[in-house]
Amino acid sequence: MTTIDADAVRHLAEAQVSVELQTEEMTLNIGPQHPSTHGVLRLVARVDGERAFDVTPVIGYMHRGYEKLSEVRTYPQITALINRIDWVSGYANEIPFVVAAEKLMELEVPERAQYIRLILTEMARISSHLMFLAAYPLELGAGTPLFFSLRERERVLDLIESVTGGRFHPNFNRIGGVKPAYGSGSTTRKQSQDLPAGFLAEASDAMARVDAVCDQIEDLVTGNEIILARTKGVGIIPREVVAAYGVSGPIMRASGVEFDLRKTENYLPYDRFDFEIPVGQNGDCWDRWWVRFQEVRQAVRIVQQAVDDIPPSGPLQAKVPKVIKVPAGETYVRAENPKGEMGYYLVSDGGQGPYRLKIRSASFSNISILPWILEGVLVPDIIAIMGSLDFVLGDVDR
């Protein structure tokens, strides 16, 4: 027997292993249903071992054709449709549209109505972000924050419901103000629906509770090693990529862009309130979590100031004709919605409905980055990254 060289043995063994474990690429189909997608999205990925390549999102399962539908609807009917674009913050969707119509009609919305709009918009933001703060740790395997977060979210939704009558689809805004009270038909003197008795005190109370639950969630999540390991340094989006893809909202701010449409556009009187723009450092999943988390606290601040500052009484509806006709013109109004920039390009030819309504929704641009950001990531990171983008498929497909 000849002695075999030890190196040769090892070499032979390695060669055998690599033959046995030779990996083949496969195509992985995720969806059209998955718990982390908040709607129906399909991803087709080429998977080599643990890494995904050429990820192709397939969208359109929720496409309801709102842009076409709005061409055959009257202006007051459209608010009922656009509620359902981003249904997690339905109230906030209505604002840029009614503001666009009011701009073309040159209406001045009464101050109290503007404050009501602002308070409810911020509550919609809080409820949307609390949904994210509940769902995101759950997607990463931590179930507890969900119970804290959804408990307070329910309270906020109850408050929205007490004013508007709807938790998700309020349809509360009217061109020129807010909704007429129950029972006041078009033939009688219209009376706008004011805030229910005790609403402001309850809102103040609910905001204190939201602030408290933020502390609890912070305790649960911030020091959690698993969550930190799953999110820090994962899914980094540089600021140039954010701009080129039109990614907006908290995702953009997590990448270090200090920009918030509430500070630059005048669709609601945000300039009267003190609030900060939370900005992330690295643009990773953790920063996106952290920015939304801080935005809840800032929204709480805004609501608390607005509750103190709201005019005690006054009209809630500008003088509008019975049949709303919007004068000819074109305008683009955009707003800082919970998911990012939401805007409507409204083209009117003077009729009862728009000639063309382009809906710019935040999630559409936000997930158009998926093929870029998911290139070469680990398969489990797909969930961490997609969850951190916090999109709603209704807001993608419209």
Binding site: I59, G60, H63, E67, K68, L69, E71, V72, Q77, K103, L104, P180, R189, K190, Q191, V241, A243, A244, Y245, G246, V247, M252, V257, F259, L261, K263, T264, E265, N266, D271, P315, Q317, K319, V320, P321, K322, V323, A328, G329, E330, T331, Y332, R334, E341, G343, Y345, V347, S348, D349, G351, Q352, G353, Y355, R356, K358, R360, F364, S365, S368, W372
Partner: protein, 206 residues
């Protein structure tokens, strides 16, 4: 008709801004129009700059590189048609065309510009913006399937929302809304035109 809004009025700027002499939005619009050699329209707080179709990509590249408009907001189109299968026809005749719009913005002061160009109504073709703004990819695919616009140089001009086998361009005015074909609506129970002189709603008071 609505191409150039009836009044290019001065814009209600934020309170505290009390100098009526120079409208900052108008000034900004003119500076953009000068830079890209286009025509600026300012109305209702919206700056629209019209450029010729052959300088579409160049104009947006200038906007991105020299005007700080780095944020790609959206791209879409308007079908200006005199006959409609869905929705009310225009109140006045227009020159039939497809107007393509792209809105870009900055990320500091909140400036935004909607670039616009006109394409032939029957065969709209234009160069793709994907090389300038990566985000134009999906927006152009949407405009392609909804309006039938051909984007030259687009890496993957397939359907975005609709199945690949879908025939037609749904956001064209010539495309009927099928549910309305089955059941005409608004009917008698829906909103009817009111007399022009009808009394308007009174200001709500208790």
């Amino acid at each position: 008709m609505t191409q150039s809004p009836p009044e290019s009025e001065t814009v209600a700027s934020s309170p505290g801004d009390t100098e009526p002499a120079v409208d900052p939005l108008r000034e900004f619009a003119d500076s953009v129009a000068d830079a890209v050699n286009g025509e600026a329209i300012v109305a209702f707080d919206t700056v629209k700059v019209k450029v010729p179709a052959d300088r579409w990509v160049d104009s947006l590249a200038i906007a991105r590189d020299h005007l700080g408009l780095v944020f790609f907001s959206w791209l879409s189109a308007i079908d200006w048609a005199n006959e409609t299968q869905a929705g009310d026809p225009l109140s006045e005749e227009v020159e039939e065309r497809v107007e393509i719009l792209a809105t870009v913005a900055d990320l500091s002061e909140g400036k935004r510009v909607t670039f616009s160009t006109d394409l032939p109504h029957e065969t709209p073709v234009i160069d793709s913006l994907v090389e300038v703004y990566a985000g134009a990819n999906w927006h152009e695919r949407e405009a392609h399937e909804m309006f039938g616009i051909d984007f030259r140089g687009h890496p993957n001009l397939s359907h975005l929302y609709l199945p690949e086998s879908f025939i037609g361009t749904p956001l064209r005015k010539s495309y009927p809304l099928l549910s309305r074909e089955v059941k005409p609506w608004p009917g008698t129970v829906d909103v009817e035109a009111m007399p022009e002189t009808g009394p308007s709603t009174e200001n709500p008071e208790a």
